[in-house]
């Protein structure tokens, strides 16, 4: 009951029947199916991001004893849509001496990479586009494109603040990627698979969630993921008091919006990975058949997004040297310790 998979299968069966009737080959029908899935996924993700932008403003407002957006819609709920419309209509200002192709493609690469992650995310029971047998690795690989996008934005803008922001960001993301990947290794060692669907399937019960067996791994992952998203206390790439707006300084209109949306999307991705690998994905805490699975997935994910927002409006920013030292001298040894302990645990208990 309440599961979406059956509904989707019925609708797709009807569309596929129609397409087959007009004489398209099976492969072409499948291709059209993929295109439809991509469009639907994009719609869902875009809605989520629009909601997150509004939510961040509301959360920050509550934490600072303000009201936040109140005018457009109920408690400002469609404020983000109004803002998006405004950004769409704005003139796209490009400075004169920029490296145009690089400047142009940077937001596109950043946004597309942030979106591509969702191919292998299990949103609910049976709600996974492609359960790749290298799912975890795929997510880590695709998110590295963020670095390229940031560097391109920093370099292509021909602006010292943008370049500094891009460089800081690249150094930060590359450094924190090492403890992040290593922290996920503990879960992979226990689950013996890289497929996200299988990993979720193994966590069918509150006490089977991998966070109970990998508490250190989760803490390392969460800190590193916060840094990967360039969120406070790790928001050095766009430290507005030092670097104007970092790598987005020279962007306006829709291109700025794409960076902005990609940032929120990355935040959602970090929460999705945390929920899927450590907190049972779409499994409810009361067993696999309690309530709609996709609702549990989104509830858990939004909770972790809220934690990220909580961080942002609570902690001050780290210094550059502290930031790098923390990644290499604290998180990395801890991640290795976690792998060692996990290996010992598997050796002793299994």
């Amino acid at each position: 009951m309440f599961e979406l998979r059956g509904l989707i299968d019925t609708i797709w069966g009807w569309i596929a029947g129609l397409l087959a009737d007009i004489g398209l080959s099976a492969g072409l029908v499948q291709l059209i199916g993929y295109a439809i899935i991509a469009a639907v996924l994009f719609g869902v993700i875009a809605l989520v991001v629009l909601f997150l932008v509004w939510w961040e403003r509301k959360v920050s407002a509550k934490m600072q004893d303000r009201l936040g957006p109140m005018r457009v819609g109920w408690h400002g709920i469609i404020q983000t849509i109004a803002d998006a419309m405004k950004l769409l209509q704005k003139e796209d200002i490009t400075p004169k001496n920029i490296d145009f192709p690089i400047h142009f493609w940077a937001p596109v690469i950043t946004f597309v990479a942030a979106f591509m992650v969702y191919v292998t995310v299990p949103f609910g029971k049976g709600l996974i586009v492609a359960d790749l047998n290298v799912g975890v690795l795929y997510i880590i690989a695709i998110t590295t494109f963020t670095v390229i996008g940031l560097l391109m934005a920093g370099w292509g803008s021909n602006n010292k603040y943008a370049l500094l922001g891009g460089f800081r960001s690249a150094a930060q993301v590359v450094s924190y990627e090492v403890p992040l990947t290593l922290s996920l290794l503990g879960v992979i060692m226990i689950s013996q698979t890289l497929s996200l669907g299988t990993i979720v399937g193994q966590q069918d019960g509150f006490f089977k969630w991998y966070v109970w067996r990998q508490p250190l791994g989760f803490v390392i992952f969460w800190i590193a993921a916060t840094a990967e998203c360039n969120r406070t206390p790790f928001d050095l790439p766009e430290a507005d008091s030092e670097l104007v707006a970092g790598f987005v300084t020279e962007y306006s209109g829709m291109k700025f919006a794409m960076f902005f949306l990609a940032e929120f999307l990355n935040m959602f991705t970090a929460s999705v990975v945390a929920v899927t690998l450590f907190f049972g994905g779409w499994m409810s805490p009361f067993g696999p058949d309690f309530g709609p699975s996709w609702l549990w997935f989104f509830a858990k994910t939004f909770f972790f997004v809220f934690v990220l927002m909580w961080f942002r409006w609570t902690y001050p920013r780290l210094r550059v040297d502290q930031l790098m030292g923390f990644a290499w001298k604290v998180l990395l040894p801890l991640a290795f310790l976690n792998i060692l302990l996990t290996g010992l645990g598997i050796y002793i208990f299994d």
Binding site: S25, I102, A170
Partner: protein, 166 residues
């Protein structure tokens, strides 16, 4: 339009991306553009791996090389004084001998490729490719694997020693 046609089309589009990207990498006069095209080329190679159902290789290809190219960009920007519009001479007096050798090598490659009877079969790729490769690396091929690690470590140490000025 048949499905075989679609598969072929995908293969040729990806191959074109690989080759065109590769040509841009070596012919661009801007170091940063070269680096970006390198990402594009390596990502397209990952596409070829996906077509061969080698998902693990594709993921590792992207993971390793995109990060590496990001580093290349950083060093390119930090260590070179002039990044764009560098007047590089593509040719010198040895252009004709070089062309001759390249053409000969190409002919040899084409001859070898057309003359080799490649074994084809309908063997499906293993489902748990990561597990199979991991097990092989840790048992049968552990010595080459460790040798490569030591070699990489030596290269790292060597690079630091060379880069250290004092």
């Amino acid at each position: 339009m048949t499905d075989a046609f679609l598969t072929n089309l995908a293969f040729y589009v990806i191959s074109f991306c690989v080759i065109a990207g590769g040509i841009f990498v070596v012919s661009s006069r801007n170091l940063f553009h070269s680096a970006v095209f390198l990402v594009f080329t390596l990502f397209s190679v990952a596409g070829i791996f996906v077509m061969l159902s080698a998902y693990l290789l594709a993921a590792i290809q992207v993971l390793v090389y995109v990060g590496a190219v990001a580093m290349l960009m950083i060093f390119g920007v930090m260590l070179t004084t002039q990044l764009s519009n560098v007047r590089i001479r593509y040719m010198n007096e040895q252009v004709w001998p070089a062309l001759l050798i390249c053409a000969g090598f190409l002919a040899l490659l084409v001859y070898g490729l057309t003359d080799t009877p490649f074994a084809t079969g309908n063997v499906a790729a293993p489902v748990e490719g990561a597990k199979a490769i991991g097990t092989l690396l840790m048992t049968k091929y552990v010595l080459p694997f460790e040798m490569v690690s030591v070699l990489l470590l030596a290269a790292l140490v060597g690079a630091i020693v060379i880069a250290k000025k004092d």
